[in-house]
Assembly symmetry: C2
Homo-oligomer: 126 residues x 2
DNA sequence: ATAGGTTCCGTACCGTAGTACGGAGTCAAG
DNA sequence: CTTGACTCCGTACTACGGTACGGAACCTAT
């Protein structure tokens, strides 16, 4: 039985973030037991899922839908969301990889030992 | 010699975005020639750099600094920004790759043919 | 039983990156 | 020489994901 402060700490977020997620419908707002609301392990699990899904690029609205789907039967929709995100992630990863290579080159060409120009603007031209 | 509309189109952004970048100091505001400002290839190059750098995860403020560095002599600082971003990109790419794998697994396990549970919440637990 | 730390709740505010609005000026074609 | 599209400019508004404020209620240790 966790207070909101302990709950927030368990998910490495702030108390205000918990309240924000509750307003957005991502987390339940448990009943008060003498003025104070209490949270359990299932809530922590849910909160951690939210953070992971966020890192995967889902918006809070999409995450809300995923959490709803988890309770329901609609495998098709869940699959849809997952495969769409996989495609988006593949594209994003490729894009970041290209940017990473361009910047790695820039850092090397702009190294201490090197002379010549330090082609910042040109670094992405490749 | 491009008008702002042509310039914006050359960088695949809206006219308002150009003005926004000018306010933020990312793009110059050329002198007016009879009421209308005109842009050249160097501006287009700069604008394209901004979009690429943005895709690489730089904020507009960092991009502003990069553009300043390009004009100056401070190789050390440019190198610093580039290597820091390479490290950030490597971390981000690894994170997205993990998320991608988790979602790929979810999509498979949640496939049409499969029975069993469709473990959305559990998908990131691995 | 009282002080200090939390919690509760509504409301307001923040940074980032734009996007929209509206009136006045300008320019090119008919 | 007017019409319609585009430009100029300031100001306001948007979406997203939080973060902060402030007064009242509550809980714990002394």
């Amino acid at each position: 039985m966790l207070t909101i402060g302990e709950f927030a700490a368990a998910g490495s977020v702030g108390v205000e973030t918990i309240r924000f997620y509750q307003r957005r419908g991502l987390l339940r707002t448990p009943a008060r037991e003498g003025g104070i609301r209490h949270y359990g392990q299932e809530d922590v699990r849910r909160l951690r899922f939210i953070r992971q899904a966020q890192a995967a690029g889902f918006t809070l609205e999409e995450i809300r839908e995923l959490l709803e789907l988890d309770a329901g039967e609609d495998r098709r929709r869940a699959r849809e969301l997952a495969t769409a995100r996989v495609a988006a992630l593949d594209a994003k990863i490729a894009e970041l990889q290209r940017a990473r290579d361009a910047l790695g080159r820039l850092a090397r060409e702009c190294g201490e030992g090197s002379t010549g120009p330090c082609p910042i603007l040109a670094s992405f031209d490749v």
